[in-house]
Symmetry: C2
Subunit: 406 residues, 2 copies
């Protein structure tokens, strides 16, 4: 029997217990041994729940119990999660976590302790919820140089953008609706400002580069400025708008960014709608691949956590994860990243076109019926820095700029 | 250094050598040791190719060389591949293959030899080309009961159906075009009759059930009967037609089938176009997931083969694959599988509607402008057997039946 401790009995923690209850027999077949949840650590009691008999309030019970071989950290936040996880690993216990903040900040150190101890620190659920992506990167896409990972990594914002696109609703009303039905938090900042997606792309960037990528170094723009008018332009152009978190390597330099982008229908991420997440990967020999599924939710996330528990149980004394070094990766400067830009500008296109062509080159004009006093245009491929230079001269005329993902 | 032998220097075999040449450094980092292609077995010589110095014509060279730890079988066909693979495994050499015919027929036996010898028999490239699916099933989706796998598993037919749908072309002309540009063989039977997809879903069904699923037991219908008119109905209904290979578990019984099906836009496989493949998976706790990518092609397939070589190299004396027993699984009888059916019928809907409602229940009529003398209808959910019973009475009136995948 393999004894585990679950730290945190919130949504994901109770899901983990439920998944092990529901599929315990099949899971035991796969491990070749039964899984037993010996402790559940929480500051609360759950008198109405049969879990209560396993509830403990003191982490010392876990760390001092030699029977506990795997610790599941689903508390969230940096502290006390970090201290508990580090102490568990140092005590020779495998750790599985769904905590993206913890992994983004301390992943390199925790992986290196696990390697030293010849055990595992696993975090499949920290990115993409139930979508298998960390393990495929670690053990399936191993023949390739991964040149790009671009993901829709936040279900809340994807739900909101989908509603705005298909129903023409405005940002404020879809946010309220998302909050009312539980898809968005009362304080939605982490989602709508892109911070959640940013931590996840930092983790993926660290994994593919093998070095520490700090999320603070990644340019991050949320969806709060996306308007009904933007969506009308998107439709007129045959595109949709998605919050993309991406990491691309050009000439050996990795550039990462989180921003709302226009996507054309031939992009595999174009049709990822509602609360679903998806991760597009381009390998130098594999070509394009995509992984799609539930990016959040109690059971999908718990499924990913428990799959890590199975992996840890099958490799109790054998380190299997790719490392990333604590040494920080110098990211490509945002200003040298290249792409096309869509710009909405005040005024009359006939009066301004010559001037715009002088500044931006051979642009493509977009007009939307009923949107008077403004027009849109798409620039040729140019560097972010060159865009910024030009945008300055039109500061009071640019209504909005949205990047295009080709 | 890890020495490998590549058996077969055709498209995939030369791709394997190319991938190892191109990404050798990164691959060596991941393994912690360098990979060396020591032999290439082929009946031909390649005097213009630097590979020539490694070409051998006798399998005995491989089997008798203790330095060869991993054998890559990319010859295709059952013999001599089966004999070579079995002898390699019995000699304690790991085997990696892309050979779906071999895996579908002898997978259970070869896996069991590998397990006995504590080595590995790996076959990621046998299903879905470059799409990681075998290893994710083996080591990522391990917390779930997999209740459904439905895939677009053949690129040739998907390319043809995509052309027919978007361009209104007929079967014969898209087949000719696919043959002219190398997407389809001169003898296209294995693709267009669904046999290729059938072997692949047999492998996936064996893996998720843990028992032998013979492809001969799976009902298999190809795309040769799909017409321009069928596509017009599909468009009118807001659906598309895809060749689906699927395996679904109801009440503990697994039913498998290969057939062209109508799909609605909310299905994750709806937008999988051209030569791309994708595999939809439903787990009882994970919910829906999908894996998308290049289902064939030299480098994507070679990428999957080499990722197996990396896995084998990291686990030289340690069996990591899920087993499936040689004991045959009794599949659910086709006649008890349930779904909706779309039927094209000769004649006048007004005259026949009462009669059809009497036989099929509350059907939904579909009319396409310009298709006179016929009409279509969609049945309620019913068993295949019950459909067959009813279809008999209308034998001379039914123009075509296409299944609906809801």
């Amino acid at each position: 029997m393999i004894n585990i401790a679950v730290m945190g009995y919130g949504t994901v923690g109770s899901g983990v217990v439920e998944v092990i209850d529901t599929n315990g027999e099949r899971i035991a077949q796969r491990i070749g041994d039964a899984l037993n949840v010996k402790y559940v650590l929480d500051i609360r009691d759950f008198p109405e729940d049969p879990i209560q008999e396993k509830v403990i309030h003191d982490f010392e019970t876990i760390i001092s119990d030699d029977e506990i071989q795997i610790v599941v950290e689903v508390m969230g936040g940096i502290e006390p999660a970090y201290t508990f996880v580090k102490r568990s690993l140092l005590a020779g216990k495998c750790v599985v976590t769904s905590n993206k903040a913890l992994v983004a900040k301390h992943g390199a150190e925790l992986l290196s302790i696990a390697k030293e101890k010849n055990i595992n620190f696993l975090f499949e659920a920290s990115v993409g919820g139930g979508i298998p992506i960390i393990r495929p990167l670690n053990s399936s896409l191993t023949a390739d140089e991964i040149e790009e990972i671009t993901g829709i990594l936040n279900g809340t914002t994807n739900y909101m953008l989908t509603k705005m696109f298909y129903e023409g609703a405005d940002y404020a009303s879809v946010l309220k609706e998302a909050q009312d039905n539980g898809y968005a938090e009362r304080n939605p900042e982490a989602d709508v400002e892109g911070y959640d997606a940013c931590r996840k792309i930092a983790i993926l960037s660290s994994l593919i580069s093998g070095q520490q990528v700090d999320f603070e170094d990644i340019y991050c723009e949320g969806i709060t400025q996306i308007t009904v008018e933007d969506m009308r332009y998107a439709k007129a152009m045959g595109t949709t708008i998605k919050l993309l978190a991406s990491s691309k390597t050009h000439a050996g330099r990795l550039g990462a960014m989180v921003a709302p982008c226009m996507l054309y229908p031939d992009h595999p991420l174009y049709n990822v709608n509602g609360v679903f997440n998806a991760i597009f990967v381009h390998g130098n020999v594999l070509g394009d691949a995509m992984f799609y599924g539930s990016g959040a939710g109690k059971l999908p996330t718990a499924s990913a956590v428990v799959s890590d528990v199975v992996e840890a149980a099958k490799n109790l004394n054998r380190n299997v994860m790719t490392m990333w070094k604590e040494e920080k990766l110098r990211l490509e400067d945002k200003s040298s990243m290249k792409r096309r830009f869509f710009i909405r500008m005040k005024g009359n296109v006939e009066e301004k076109i010559e001037d715009i062509r002088y500044s931006f080159g051979d642009v493509e004009i977009v007009k939307v019926d009923g949107l008077d006093g403004e027009f849109g245009f798409v620039t040729p491929i140019m560097m972010e820095g060159d865009y910024d230079t030009r945008a300055k001269s039109y500061e009071d005329q640019i209504l909005h700029m949205i990047r295009i993902e080709d």
